[in-house]
């Protein structure tokens, strides 16, 4: 792989893996401020104006690691693998057991309980790897852990990708 490609891929993976939504907003703000000398398209100006805290388009993009429902996901996004944020790709089987997260939806300011099911029976998808860990706990608190293969109890136990399915609004 070309060093530039490698560097870009690595930085993109690092960003996806290491960057929380909030810090991404801050980083975007810094990047746009740094790029102020470049001619900005109107959409860019809008993005900069919104970077102070309003919703960013990518928090509603199911193919983005910053999608609000993915706050504790760990794996390949099924939305990049032929499925969606809440459906498995064709020919795979959803895991009946799962881990649970609570994610804040900035669009309606509600917290939602989501289940992070794995889709199983094919080798790893390989696209859109995403790891976020808001309120994620180690393996001894299994229902809050995203490290294990949740395809473990499936007849076909290979891991392919992960989805985030809304179970309901979290009661305060």
């Amino acid at each position: 792989m070309h060093p530039l490609d490698r560097a870009f891929e690595s930085s993109a993976r690092s960003l996806a893996k290491r960057t929380s939504r909030r810090s991404l907003l801050a980083s975007l703000g810094r990047m746009l401020t740094g790029a102020a000398l470049l001619p900005l398209l109107p959409i860019d100006r809008t993005a900069r104006a919104q970077s102070a805290g309003a919703a960013q388009p990518d928090i509603n993009d199911a193919r983005s690691c910053d999608y609000w429902k993915y706050c504790a996901i760990d794996g390949f996004l099924c939305s990049c693998c032929g499925g969606s944020a809440h459906s498995c790709p064709p020919g795979t089987q959803p895991s009946p057991i799962t881990w649970i997260g609570t994610c804040h939806n900035p669009n309606d300011d509600r917290h939602y309980i989501v289940s992070y099911n794995d889709c199983c029976g094919k080798v790893s998808c390989g696209s859109c790897f995403c790891n976020r860990n808001e309120n994620e706990k180690p393996m001894y608190r299994l229902s809050r852990n995203n490290d294990v293969n949740w395809c473990m109890a499936n007849t076909e136990g290979d891991y392919h990708c992960s989805v985030s399915v809304i179970l309901g609004v979290a009661e305060k």
Partner: protein, 384 residues
């Protein structure tokens, strides 16, 4: 003939004479195809576990020499494997799963034994299809101190562990752990597991590898406010468990039952919550130096798996930070795993998310070599 042209012709003639006179080199000899042997194991060898995220049914362990900077060979590790070294360092054990048709088909769980002098597989034990498939760490499969027993962590998601005989290559039994997870060995016949309540469950085995007794400790950490990483760091007589916020919980097993030492902190009051330990293999201890090396990053809640941008070094007796080494994460990548050799001229190994392996002098922090692109996702390092 002009003098210039005559000179050129003379040179050409001389040259052709030389060409004719030059002896024809002897042909290369026939070669014999051989298989390399590794020779004597070095304390500077490191075993690099590659998670191979893009093809997870094909994980592997890469053996690498930290002195010659050469890759020595490879051990296959299957799907979501646990790996470890035997106490004498001569065997790499792999607990893993295979599917009969590659990515699908009948699942077979197995523990495989690999000779570290040849990197050849020497035997296996078929497990019930319960192997705990999780990220790589040293407590998925582990030996007793005398290598008489081997323990394999099970998760279905009910938690238990298998007791295996690594000599006769048999399963001796399965022990239910009441929801507590992983196999943390101590002495010849104790196995501890971490419980959701913040306790340690310790099972004592009899001579046949069956449960003789069990004891549950008092809670030693708060799983809600400040969970510990399950990636405990061996101290010699026990383990150091680091918490998300940087507290150190040392547990001493040298007298049998776990004894919990006073908790101490990696971070000052002003650093707490801002600087945190993180990565996959978060730290390592050089026992003779009494040094703890930790992969640290700046981040908030939910950043516990963020890769490290600095290495902090602590004295295990005084609990003081003795060094804070910047890490060139921009060029090398951020730290995914740390390991240190246990010899008198110790090397510190840092794997990165660029899939590079950085080799540092463990006493000065000076980088000696950067091996680029060692696998895809080097997430665990083992040192004999």
């Amino acid at each position: 003939m002009r003098p210039f042209l005559s000179g050129v012709m003379a040179l050409a003639l001389l040259g052709s004479t030389c060409l004719v006179a030059a002896p024809t080199p002897a042909p290369l000899p026939a070669e014999q195809l051989t298989v390399e042997k590794l020779g004597h194991m070095s304390p500077h060898w490191v075993y690099v576990f590659d998670e191979a995220l893009n093809n997870e049914i094909d994980m592997r362990v890469l053996a690498y020499d930290g002195d010659t900077y050469k890759r020595l060979g490879q051990i296959g590790a299957g799907f979501m494997a646990g790996v470890n070294l035997s106490p004498d360092g001569k065997t790499t054990v792999v607990a893993t799963s295979y599917f009969s048709r590659g990515g699908h088909g009948t699942r077979t769980d197995v523990v495989e034994f690999n000779d570290n002098s040849t990197l050849a597989k020497t035997g296996e034990i078929i497990l019930p299809a319960k192997h705990a498939q999780t990220f790589p760490m040293l407590y998925d499969v582990a030996y007793s101190s005398d290598a008489r027993f081997l323990y394999a962590s099970y998760l279905t998601p009910a938690a238990s562990f298998g007791v295996l005989d690594p000599v006769r290559k048999t399963v001796l039994g399965e022990i239910d752990t009441a929801g507590c997870v992983l196999v943390i060995p101590s002495g010849p016949n104790h196995v501890s597991s971490i419980c959701e309540s913040g306790r340690l469950l310790t099972v004592t085995l009899d001579a046949k590898g069956h449960e003789a007794s069990r004891a549950t400790s008092e809670p030693f950490f708060d799983p809600d406010r400040d969970p510990i990483f399950v990636q405990a760091i061996p101290t010699g007589g026990g383990y150091a468990f680091l918490s998300f916020l940087g507290q150190v919980h040392e547990v001493d097993f040298s007298q049998g039952p776990p004894a919990f030492r006073p908790v101490w902190s990696l971070v000052s009051a002003t650093e707490k919550g801002a600087w945190r330990p993180g990565s996959v293999q978060i730290g390592a201890i050089q026992r003779a130096l009494g040094r703890l090396y930790v992969s640290m990053h700046q981040g908030g809640e939910g950043s516990h798996k963020d890769y490290g941008t600095e290495i902090w070094v602590f004295d295990l007796k005084t609990h003081q930070r003795v060094a804070r080494w910047a890490f060139d994460a921009k060029n090398w990548g951020a730290i995914t795993a740390l390991q240190v050799s246990q010899d008198r001229a110790p090397l510190l190994f840092a794997a990165t998310d660029h899939a590079d392996l950085v080799i540092l002098d463990a006493q000065s922090g000076k980088a000696k070599h950067v091996e680029t692109q060692l696998g895809q996702n080097p997430w665990l390092l083992m040192s004999p």
